[in-house]
Amino acid sequence: MDKEERNSRNLRRKVAAATDSGNGTAEEASASEMEESSAEDKGESMEDSDTEESDGEDSQPQCAGVKTQESKFDKSEDDVEGLLKEEEEYKEASDFSLDTVGALKWKEGITQKAAEAFLRQQQSAPNLRKLIYGTVAEDEG
């Protein structure tokens, strides 16, 4: 029976892994999955959580940590689940690189910085093509 269940779970997990492509969906799928596992069997929780983490398909280890922590309180009640999800979404929005390691500081707002640098470059060098050929040049770049 144990084996059977595990098989079926593995299958489900595979399906989940196959369907998720974006980050957001991945989180939700794994969260629901985890709930199931904790509700179904607690005897082999150690081993289970291990596997969970190893194949938890996300590149950020912080996510996994958050989830394991939260799996303690949840006793599969619907409103709690909803609350959890909300909390998770909130965590997602915050920038992880900020509260972890100092080495990742340079990544803060990197796209913003790039955009600013690009605009600065554009403004400092006059567009000679536009000056010479007039506004027509803009259409062609």
Binding site: A125, P126, L128, R129, L131, I132, Y133, A137, E140
Partner: protein, 373 residues
């Protein structure tokens, strides 16, 4: 040469040579209105009328209509014919004024052109014959316009106001031009120059050389400035002197600067020493601007790139001159060619002023006038 293309219309007297030259090459008729319409002395000037006569001479079947006051000009170009010709240039402008346009047209003649031009060889306004000889001819060679026939020879030197100089210009004919990739000017290798003097003391040329060297020797040991004192019939009708300096780089780029004395009886008298020092400084300025082509020949190189084979040509220029900028606009209206213009700031290397990288695809202009042998 598409004869059916629409005529272009311009207003004002500026850039007359450009408009007529590009009209001749593209085969598009051009109409220019309101030439100095509001001035006391309206219409075309003497030297412009003279230029139109020269265009008429080197082409076959051109139609030129000028209204009575000379304020409106209609030009329907014929075929570039070439051959052996003579032309008396107007004394108001030097031969350089006419030669600049001839350099643009000469490679596309039916017969190789060999023309004798008479007038002033050196003046203060236009690029002198010495300068064009040193800078424009090497440029033509880069496009494959080469051979013994390519020649510019000063037979007699003439200074304004009376002129009296004589120049022989001959240029071979080519079916197509080669594209160029000319983006590294290299470093200055040597400086050459000509200090000329006519109908004044021959000692003046020596004074010019000494003064010019006093500045340039600080930078470079390889300097040689010829003195060219012409006498008798080959010295023209008016006195004068001047200096042309040319800096040659390791990659065969020629950058030039020049100055001439004021015409007799006009303007302030110029000391030979001052003239030489100012000219040397102008050469340093030109080197600072840099690029692969000096500022007098920017438009010539852009024209030859446009008329090349259907291939990408690139050239690195110094800051664009106003004349070149207008020339670029004209190239677009006559040939529908737009250049890709990238500015290259001098940055940390401190290699002079900002440069501009010009890129275009040639229109595949082939010389239709040339007979197939």
């Amino acid at each position: 040469m598409t004869s059916a293309s629409a005529s272009l219309s311009y207003v004002g007297c500026n850039f007359l040579r450009q408009r007529l030259v590009l009209s001749t090459l593209s085969g598009r008729p051009v109409k220019i209105r309101k030439i100095r319409a509001k001035e006391e002395n309206p219409g075309l000037r003497d030297f412009e009328a003279n230029f139109i006569r020269l265009i008429d001479k080197i082409t076959n079947g051109s139609r030129i209509e000028i209204n009575q006051t000379g304020t409106t000009l209609y030009y329907q170009p014929g075929l570039l014919y070439g051959g052996s010709l003579e032309h008396d240039c107007s004394p108001n402008r030097s031969i350089g004024y006419y030669l600049e346009s001839l350099l643009c047209l000469a490679p596309f003649m039916k017969h190789p052109i060999r023309i004798v031009l008479r007038g002033a060889t050196n003046d203060q306004v236009d690029p002198t014959v010495d300068c064009l000889k040193a800078t424009a001819l090497p440029l033509l060679k880069r496009f494959g316009i080469d051979g013994e026939e390519l020649e510019l020879k000063i037979v007699r030197r003439g200074m304004p106001p009376k002129g009296g100089g004589e120049v022989i210009f001959s240029c071979p004919v080519k079916k197509a031009l080669m594209p160029i990739q000319y983006i590294d000017p290299g470093k200055i290798k040597r400086i050459r120059g000509v200090a000329y003097s006519v109908r004044v003391s021959p000692q003046i040329a020596n004074r010019i050389v000494d003064s010019a060297r006093s500045i340039l020797n600080k930078f470079l040991p390889d300097i040689y400035i010829h003195t060219d004192h012409m006498k008798g019939t080959s010295s023209g009708k008016s006195p004068g002197f001047g200096l042309t300096l040319v800096a040659e780089t390791t990659n065969g780029t020629f950058l030039s600067a020049e100055l001439a004395s004021s015409p007799q009886g006009q303007g302030p008298a110029v000391l030979p020493e001052d003239l030489a020092i100012n000219c040397a400084k102008l050469l340093l300025e030109e080197i600072h601007r840099g690029g692969c082509v000096d500022s007098t020949n920017q438009s010539l190189v852009l024209l030859l790139m446009t008329l090349g084979q259907q291939d990408v040509s690139k050239v690195l220029l110094g800051p664009l001159s106003p004349y070149t900028i207008e020339f670029l606009r004209h190239l677009r209206s006559y040939f529908q060619v737009m250049f890709k213009i990238e500015s290259k700031p001098s940055g940390e290397e401190r290699k002079g002023g900002d440069k501009v990288l010009m890129t275009c695809v040639g229109i595949g202009f082939s010389n239709l006038s040339k007979t197939v042998k």
